[in-house]
């Protein structure tokens, strides 16, 4: 049972993604800061999860049987805030308060301030571990919910990611589905230049995970991969999603300047025209 939307077509999801991208540009422009690049790259993944795949109830954010999503790459907060607002966790009117004093929409997610958040993130590499804890609690309580973790290529530089990778496989943690938003960039430069983690997929296979590799902007592939991952037993599931940093805004695509820089007025207008 999906309490938000029972059926949603890929065409509808595409429209949602466009709205989410507009929100990301709007929010970072209004805040004059934030991280558009890595928010745009994970847009299809997070939108498909909340609008079509996850079992959740925006009117009852603490529902014990809900599916959980941890945004381990917490700097992609504009993406998550947009999706949570669109699905009805809070009023869209809050979106322009992003990063402003007193706003529940903190620069990086703060679980105490906003309904719908499952973890406070922003220190990279922590989300998988938290997800394992939730998945273990599910197993102990014999519940059926899934825990999703959105992690990134940059986060695989962190040692904790691999502690979690080893431990989850050893303890046969299932109902844990991670997405690796593989947009090939981190803050300072491309992953190739800074700390190349290739062969990425082989690493996760070697650590004992059920691994799929998809185009992270192809909604059909995202949906298919999640449905396959949900059926995996006694093993954590990793979906390595190849994505484009800044996806959807021509001059932001593969342009790492927009990792953590908001658009200027001219850039903003150009971006919104493209996303109209």
């Amino acid at each position: 049972m999906n309490k938000t939307m029972t059926k949603i077509s890929v065409e509808d999801l595409k429209k949602r993604c466009k709205q989410v991208r507009r929100d990301i540009i709007d929010m970072t422009y209004a805040a004059a800061s934030g991280h558009p690049g890595g928010s745009l790259s994970a847009t299809e993944i997070v939108t498909a999860l909340y609008f079509g795949l996850m079992n959740h109830d925006p009117k009852n954010p603490k529902w014990p049987d809900r599916d959980r999503l941890i945004l381990s790459k917490g700097h992609a907060s504009p993406l998550l805030y947009s999706v949570l607002a669109e699905t009805g966790y809070f009023d869209r009117k809050l979106l322009p308060t992003f990063r402003k004093l007193g706003s529940p929409l903190q620069g990086h997610p703060d679980v105490r301030r906003l309904p719908g958040l499952e973890a406070s993130t922003g220190s990279l590499g922590q989300g998988l571990s938290i997800g394992i804890g939730m998945a273990l609690a599910r197993r102990l309580d014999k519940k059926s919910f899934y825990t999703y973790v959105i992690t990134s290529d940059g986060e695989t530089n962190e040692g904790q990611t691999w502690e979690a990778a080893a431990m989850a496989a050893h303890h046969k943690v299932d109902h844990l589905i991670a997405f690796l938003d593989y947009n090939k960039y981190q803050l300072d430069d491309s992953t190739k230049v800074i700390c190349d983690m290739e062969p990425m997929t082989d690493k996760w296979i070697a650590f004992g995970w059920h691994v799929q590799e998809i185009d992270g902007h192809n909604l059909d592939e995202v949906i298919k991969a999640v449905n396959k991952a949900k059926a995996v037993k006694d093993q954590p599931a990793m979906i390595v999603a190849h994505t484009v940093k800044g996806k959807g805004v021509s001059f932001m695509e593969n342009n790492n300047h927009f990792h953590g820089v908001a658009p200027t007025k001219e850039e903003y207008e150009k971006a919104m025209k493209e996303l109209a």
Partner: protein, 318 residues
């Protein structure tokens, strides 16, 4: 006061969590491949389904505990205090303290009384690190009775707790009937001239020092300040006003531990002369626990000398 050794506080912890586990099915225990030393292994034997050995990975263990707590469990996580706090610090900050989750962090092998294993295994910075984290309760019980009581209360307390346990058998200070409450110091001995505020192993040393001082006509009070945070300001201020002289004794670096906490508290409401018995900004080494405590100045004679120093010191110019 006669020295009667009881259980090590780590042993008392191991027994207490089994007791708690029997009462509360939501209690789970995690360890990072040191369960035989931290004594969480007893819980594994009693409740194998609720015990997770994560391997030698403290950072991940803290994160997993965060997720378990977010989903309604009460995780007790153990390792040597120095590894758990230092290697898991970012996770304790971001995934436990910040979201204020119900995780109980129990670090064993606190202080230099670890002994032969040497400096790398000794936790003498843990109180500075954990008291810096908002929302954390920080405790150092001194014997088996206070450990049992405080671990039980930690399970009932909603929110993050750090408890330091120690390796050697601990001298008995309290008894089954002693009254403990998180955040409330225990005044073990009334004093007139000076008050000794101690935690952990130093509580017994403080009592011995007070006994020797009384033979020399100095009436020293002794407080078992088992909770470093939140600190019992009321008791401290009352004692500081009464005796006007404080000695703080702990098995921790001089910076950032109980001494710093007490100084901050009394400087605002009852400034008075203070002396500190602690590790003097150095690392320790291998040796027998008793030899190390003597070498690094953490015994009853050191506390006694500190009390005399604080009494001889000229009063602050008004």
């Amino acid at each position: 006061m006669e020295k009667k050794l009881g259980k090590a506080t780590r042993d008392a912890y191991g027994l207490a969590i089994v007791e708690i586990g029997r009462k509360n099915p939501d209690v789970v225990v995690l360890d990072a491949d040191l369960s035989k030393s931290t004594k969480s292994a007893g819980f594994q034997a009693a409740f194998p389904d609720r015990f997770f050995n994560v391997g030698i990975q403290e950072a991940n263990m803290v994160g997993v505990a965060s997720g378990l707590a977010a989903a309604g469990k009460i995780p007790f996580i153990s390792s040597f205090a120095t590894f758990l706090i230092s290697k898991g610090y970012d996770q304790l900050r971001m995934a436990v303290a910040f979201p204020e989750l119900n995780v109980k962090v129990v670090g064993s092998h606190g202080g230099i009384s670890v002994g032969e294993d040497g400096a790398s295994q000794m936790s003498i910075e843990d109180l500075a690190l954990t008291t810096s984290l908002p929302n954390f309760v920080v405790m150092v019980p001194c014997d088996e009775f206070s450990t049992r009581a405080l671990v039980m209360q930690a399970a009932e307390h909603k929110g993050p707790v750090f408890i330091r346990t120690c390796r050697p058998k601990a001298p008995i200070v309290h008894n089954e009937k002693s009254d403990f409450k998180i955040g409330k110091g225990v005044l073990l001995r009334e004093g007139k001239d000076v008050t000794i505020v101690a935690a952990g192993l130093l509580v017994f040393e403080a009592l011995q020092a007070a006994e020797n001082l009384s033979k020399q006509g100095i009436q020293a009070g002794v407080i078992d300040m088992h909770t470093i945070k939140p600190l019992d300001r009321e008791l401290l201020v009352r004692e500081a006003k009464k005796t006007g002289h404080l000695v703080v004794a702990e098995e921790h670096q001089i910076w950032g531990g109980l001494g710093s906490a007490v100084a901050t508290a009394v400087s605002q409401e009852a400034p008075c002369r203070m002396e500190f018995v602690a590790i003097q900004d150095t690392f320790a080494e291998s040796g027998l626990p008793d030899e190390l405590l003597v070498k690094y100045g953490l015994t009853a004679p050191n506390v006694e000398a500190a009390a005399k120093r604080v009494l001889q010191a000229p009063a602050n110019a008004e």
